[in-house]
Amino acid sequence: MKTRPLEAARLVMLRDLRLAFRKPSQLLQPLMFFMIVATLFPLTLTPELSRLRDAAPGVLWVGALLSSLLALEFLFRDDAQDGTLEQFALSGQSLTWMLFAKTCVHWLLTGLPLALSAPVAAVGLGVPAQAMWSVVASLALGGFALSLIGAISAGLTLGARRGGVLLSLLTLPLAVPILVFGADATQRAITGGEIAPPMYLLGAIAVLGVTLAPLAAAAAVRIGLE
């Protein structure tokens, strides 16, 4: 009996999670990168917390964006190399669902840990304690949107030999709105303002990503397999 699409997506998620825990170094790498970037600023810019506080949203979000670009390379690359994506495409199942599942796991393993560890970096940048929840929430939501948009670029660059740079170039323009609203949300959280408006906009981008990105990624992967 043919597996139902949601069951197939669930299996893809379980498989990716199991693989990730067998090879954790790939997951730690982007996280370490983010922490290093964030801790270098107090060393180079100024040790004054009041000045660092002004730069904090920018530092956190640029760090998060670059680290998510680093992580995106791993999204489809291994599966494309060992022929797994090919088998996905030939399984008779919806490639869209399976890639959506892969993207969700990718966020769960890279975007979410980054958001959860952000307070450690944020403390060093002088972000007040009461703003931490908002910082984590905005980075988690923004990271999810980044993963979804990145999935399209990752699919498109499958066929390219040194796809890393191309991947960044393709993703960056699409990531700018996320960066702008995300940094705005963090800024408002630090100054004690209302974070709802930029969070709604981030949410809207994420919803748009959920509806369109897996479809586009599936189409891109099919082209990439040729």
Binding site: T3, R22, D82, E86, Q87, L90, S91, G92, M98, E226
Partner: protein
Amino acid sequence: MLSVAGLHLWRGDRHVLRGVSFTAEAGHCVLLTGKNGAGKTTLLRAVAGLLDPEQGEVTWRGASARKTRDDFHTELVYLGHEAPLKGDLTGRENLRYAIGIRRIVTGAEIDAALVRTAAQPFADRPVRTLSAGQRRRVALAGVLLAGASIWLLDEPTTNLDSDGKRLVAGLIEEQLAAGGIVVAAVHQDLDLGSGRIVNLELGTT
């Protein structure tokens, strides 16, 4: 009935497939032969729908394979040069996930397939520790488990010992006897007993 009509395909400026046509009824085996670079892999990938031919069409049971893609793929299994296995998972785990996304599969079925391809003794070791021949045996168990009518095999005997080659011939014969279709690219002769074999030499036109 799987039918391929007038397939033309370019890779860059190379005209690889020049009007390839064949028809395979249930229980027939199409053996693709030809020199390296004659387009055997390209043809298999085009039949599978991984490559888009510039001209020509693949039809399965009278319907265009392209238009009924998901249904066609449900009845098809493709095994390429490399066994599509994850190095960090064991053979058994690989099969459970790879077959699980196609159809509902039980542990007993997986065991039976592993026994059939003599992959049982090393099925619980991470695939990266296996030899190329052992990997191929695990992948062949996957082909069996997929329960597909059409098998597309690219050099199925690569890396296999003489026992393994007999195993592949045996599996193909069973598949044909069950009314399936096999399209295989081969270098060495496969010792197939039954007579419903179509030989197709590529790169001659």
